[in-house]
Symmetry: C2
Subunit: 412 residues, 2 copies
């Protein structure tokens, strides 16, 4: 069963057998590690899902191609430049990055997932990246870049927390999660705090395991988990051009029970999802919205997202303002889908935590209790629609002036 390391904050978490990590400063940003690699020492099977954005960047386009035969065994991440809206030059740069990492690890470039995250519309600074990664061949001959370079296996000494740290942009802390399943482990790292309403995946989340799992089983475990976790996450309704979730399995620990494995993958994804929500740009709280009694699972998720994404609900949660009327507003505004026209004030109930606020009358005393509930650092809003059996849970955060401050002045 999957239940250890449940605090999930990453200190002391080691890679599963046969995986290693690299984190370094290549000079993409002025200071701090900005280049990381996760690599399996043996061939691995892989599963991956990517953003569906029509403006997916060249790194995503390339990686989607590399992911097709499920044989990726390394992941390289450049932080603070997204390599998006960069045209043909961006495509060449993504391909060169895969080749540089492939040469370094002595694997084909097609085995490398390339990802980049940060500002959109700027070309990757290839000179320092090239130098840092050994000059385009094995051996570490560097030219005009910074002195630090990665020369070989001995530099792969970064633990998951260090790799997650090198992936961060405006994240305030690194996100790591780990679960045990039989003799094997599932370890995940993730980044992402803004531009977060994943469509097929979240910004960047990478899971590795030493369990021995076939490609179909691996793909099913990942997609099923992503659907109920990262795809139920929204910080600000903005879907990134770079969303990627990948899971590599190198089999070093031998076979494990399939259900327990799927459960461990789900647990790591859920843990990372809640860590991402809680660290949303400017966020001070985790906001969870649970919709039940919907006509369909799709309706449940749509209504839940509508409440989760309402800036008026999010600001009320931020200020612990007991203005529950905004929740019924956010439920009621859904009128595009036929099945939503069956929603009525008479059948609907709304709760905060365990306290029903609608249709129960709310006097001064109840509002004071509601303020207390809303002051917690986790707020759960429950809505029942009385229409059927559809249910969904989604994850987000409050909206603070911090979000505005971070995003009004990001590139300049």
């Amino acid at each position: 069963m999957a239940n250890n390391d449940a605090d999930g904050m990453g200190a002391g978490v080691e890679w599963p057998r046969g995986f290693r990590g690299y984190a370094g400063h290549a000079g993409v940003r002025q200071s701090g590690n900005d280049l990381s690699i996760i690599a399996s020492e043996r061939p691995a099977v892989s599963a991956a899902v990517f953003t569906r954005s029509r403006f997916a960047g060249p790194s995503v386009v390339l990686s989607r191609r590399h992911a097709a035969d499920q044989r990726m065994s390394a992941i390289v991440t450049v932080a603070s430049n997204a390599n998006v809206a960069t045209g043909a030059e961006g495509e060449r740069n993504a391909a060169e990055l895969a080749a540089l990492v492939g040469d370094l690890l002595e694997i084909p470039a097609e085995r490398v997932l390339v990802s980049s995250t940060g500002v959109i519309g700027r070309q990757l600074p290839m000179a320092p990246l090239r130098a840092h990664l050994g000059g385009g061949g094995a051996g570490g001959a560097h030219r005009d870049g910074p002195a630090a370079t990665v020369a070989g296996a001995e530099d792969f000494d970064a633990d998951p927390l260090a790799v997650a740290g090198a992936m961060m942009t405006t994240d305030t802390h690194a996100k790591v999660s780990s679960r045990t399943v039989g003799e094997a482990r599932v370890v995940g790292v993730a980044k992402g705090v803004g531009m977060i309403e994943p469509d097929m995946a979240t910004m960047l989340a990478y899971l590795v395991t030493d369990a021995e799992v076939g490609p179909i089983e691996l793909d099913n475990a990942l997609r099923s988990a992503v659907d109920r976790t990262f795809n139920c996450l929204s910080v600000d309704t903005d879907t990134s051009t770079s969303d990627t979730v990948a899971l590599l399995a190198n089999g070093a620990a031998g076979p494990v029970d399939a259900d327990a494995f799927a459960e461990a993958v789900h647990a790591v994804c859920l843990d990372l999802t809640e860590q991402l929500a809680r660290d949303g740009e400017g966020a001070t709280k985790l906001l969870r919205v649970v919709v039940q009694g919907a006509a369909s699972p799709a309706q449940a998720k749509r209504i839940a997202k509508s409440v989760l994404n309402s800036p008026l609900v999010k600001t009320a949660v931020h200020g612990a303002d007991p203005n529950w009327g905004r929740v019924v507003m956010a439920v009621g505004k859904n009128t595009e889908h036929e099945e939503d026209l069956a929603i009525t004030p008479e059948r609907t109930t709304v709760r905060f935590g365990a306290m029903e606020v609608y249709p129960t009358a709310t006097g001064e005393e109840e509002l004071a209790r509601l303020v207390e509930i809303m002051r917690q650092d986790e707020v759960e809003i429950g809505v029942t629609l009385g229409l059927g059996e559809g249910a969904a849970t989604v994850y987000g955060c409050d909206l603070s002036d911090g979000y505005v401050r971070i995003n009004a002045d990001y590139t300049t």
Copy 2:
């Protein structure tokens, strides 16, 4: 033609012939006018559109019924209580309010549009409203309410600016607009700064005219104008439970040219829409997004709204951060509709004002020019998709820490 009073700020604007206004303090809120009435002295024809929210309040439900035969000649607005999610008691209160105003004006209650705006989930304070409106009969006998009451025609001395002022909640100024058409005039008042992404209408906007117009023509003129103005407005993606737009015509000025009339109605609606956008909660700028070359008008509006509503675009506009990549992100994230899958980076262009930012390369000098463009108090973002002839323009505002401050602490 419709072109005078174009500054639109409302000082000195008078009602069209045969209309009068009332604005008073009935005690719904602690201070300031909170009750207003617009009334025609003669029978009028009317057209109205209402929110499609599934949680439309009793005032909206009642008014929708009153609007059906297009004979409304008076509009009463209570500010600071929405009368929403208030059940059977809320229904009785809305009906009593219509009856009180009908008695006062000596018209049937069915001729009165009742609207209320403000906090959701509280019952209207009927005792002071009853007292203020003359105790449930003509004549002004008041019981337990405040001393001030409206007793008859002599109290109807409020001009459009005063009525618009009494409708405000978190608005920072009253919104009035006026246009002349032949011998007649079209005057509009509006309120609304948050919970603004109208579905069929905006929060509250009322237009009156002394033009002689038939009910069908009136309805067409209003719906056509609303579609291109209020329904293209979004402050925060949250659709109010109280949205109402109504147009009353009392014919006092005789007939006018139909096209010129429709144009005047459109001009007043557009002027009010831009005033509402500019006064969005916490807003410092008007943001206009123009999409052209879409596969359909619906796609154009969807993509335009996606850019307009992106919190990352809105915060960048707030801070004049030349982070144009967020616009391509907001275009690219649309993947739910089949026709959006035809959007490609290769066919798309993006401009700010007259300056193309994508795909044109943007060096330091261009970014500095872009900052200047974004520092204006009106920012227009243009997107062409290269797919067809569909076009749309939508109206909104930047997202500031002011929005958060206003909404984190609204009821308490």
